[in-house]
Subunit: 335 residues, 2 copies
Amino acid sequence: MSPRAVTIKDVAGKARVSTATVSRVLNDDPHVAEGTKRRVRAAVDELGYNMNQVARSLKTRATKTIGIVAPELGSQFFMLLAENMDRDLAARGYGLVVCSSWDSVEEEKQRLRLLSERLVDGIVIIPTSDQWRHIAAVKAKGIPIVLVDRRIEGGGLDAVLVDNEGGAFEAVSALIADGHRRIGFIGGSLDVSTARERYFGYRRAMEKAGLRIEPDFVVFGPLVLDSGYRAMRAMLQKPDPPEAYFIVNADTHVGATNYLMIEGREWKKRISFAAFDEMPFSPLLTFCRYAVQQPIADMGAQAVRLVLARVSGAYGGASGAPPEVIRLKTRLIRH
Amino acid sequence: MSPRAVTIKDVAGKARVSTATVSRVLNDDPHVAEGTKRRVRAAVDELGYNMNQVARSLKTRATKTIGIVAPELGSQFFMLLAENMDRDLAARGYGLVVCSSWDSVEEEKQRLRLLSERLVDGIVIIPTSDQWRHIAAVKAKGIPIVLVDRRIEGGGLDAVLVDNEGGAFEAVSALIADGHRRIGFIGGSLDVSTARERYFGYRRAMEKAGLRIEPDFVVFGPLVLDSGYRAMRAMLQKPDPPEAYFIVNADTHVGATNYLMIEGREWKKRISFAAFDEMPFSPLLTFCRYAVQQPIADMGAQAVRLVLARVSGAYGGASGAPPEVIRLKTRLIRH
DNA sequence: CTGTTAGCGCCTTCAG
DNA sequence: CTGAAGGCGCTAACAG
């Protein structure tokens, strides 16, 4: 085994003070004489002491880590969110433990248990479904939870969302203004709040313009790349498909575009998309006329702010403070 | 505050046994009578007991968590790696804490400290530079470390790599076989082992074919999207640029393609790329003729295997076992 | 098979 | 300003 790690006891010995004093110095307690402080710091350096956060956490009941669980780690949207949160959190000394729920409520429960057993100070979650009891249960044990991206009706949870309905409405309206009268829809399961709200936005725009929604050209599937590919293929193989589509997120958008690049060359120049998400690779999505940009960095920052506010009990300690739901605006981008 | 969490003491009281027995049941110790076991389990359920992993870790000196630090969380390559590792690790009860080093050695040091203070059982790292002392220092404290993707000369660390030189050689040779005689290079800083090795592969292929490398059309920059964009622009604005390029990774490849999509329409049909990485969005990279596919899932699996082997002391406990360096093969894909 | 007894490394009153 | 002492929740001998 590796030689036993150095503890405050060792430091105390070397600095000829008690462990209590070492602890005080380590925690910047002002009631310590300058000289003592220096001696302790010197000993710390010489011995290469590193604090054992596990022991500290046991005592203080705070781990200085936040958990985040997402349906899928592979999506660009999630990673950008995590990246932004990591930056904000690290600056305050927090660590970030990430988990994937693999789009399954069972796995989600498991991951929440893993996090709560590790006593994370707070959890940020992109929920997999509308079920909230298992989430509320964790919160009831005293771990603050904030939803990001997706909303859940019950549970009275804090949330950071965007105006999905409005963003979709704007995008579809733009296609209509361009003269499109038949507009298809490639979406996700209506159990997911984002997909649902974006579908409503699509519908409202169509209705407002007095246009008919053709059931044959409205597809719901999982929010993954492959289902965008398949939806596109299925629709274009039907007789007389529309030439404009609203697509519900980046992954399905890539999938749909992939289909056109691989098999649908003849549609080039004729197909137009409006879609959620503006990504680093967006210039490659050649059929995209309108993108609904989500303020991902801001979402991450707000999520961090909310969860840390609850952690530090800035709301008055009790979990009694009313839930805060933030709706951020999207921005329509013309390509 | 939330009501004090329930501990094994509470469970012990309710089940009328000692805390030791509760602990045994919780850890599936076989030397416990069936009846007692049942009573304890019942008490656990009734009280809604959850183990405090922090306390457990303090005692067992194992946190059942692995840390991973990457230069950037937003890159597709890293996401896929993390996703695969998360799956393998979760299956064995391990958590994953991720950190971004933001391509800075300073930040990297910071994150390593954060991880080692939290007593993660092992660390997987995509190093930011060739510097290894701060990494070896962490290992010396008894935390196993394995490098992924990028190699570092010193430090005697385990590593999971791919045959970068060979992959690049193959790809460039394929361009040459197609009749290209002038081939540009869009790469990354030679401080990074992958970029360096791939550059050598490019050079070897050119030399073997007796072709001249034109310094004006060899660009090194950071391995990010924007630098691919700029490199492409810079080269195409010079007189008489080559029509074939080897590109060192996915991010720069996207960047270079972005440039052509946005500003370089007139080059269409004429430009050909060979590039590292095959990604979900690869069909959108319209100039790509050859892709060097890395076995990302396998890299993740091997990294997990190596780090857990060290953790469990399967190598004989001591860190004395010789470092294991794995080189996985790449696969050339024709588009 | 089960209980008793020590800590793991740190923080935190409470005296001095 | 500093030290002594107790305990956070759990596990790991060692007795019985």
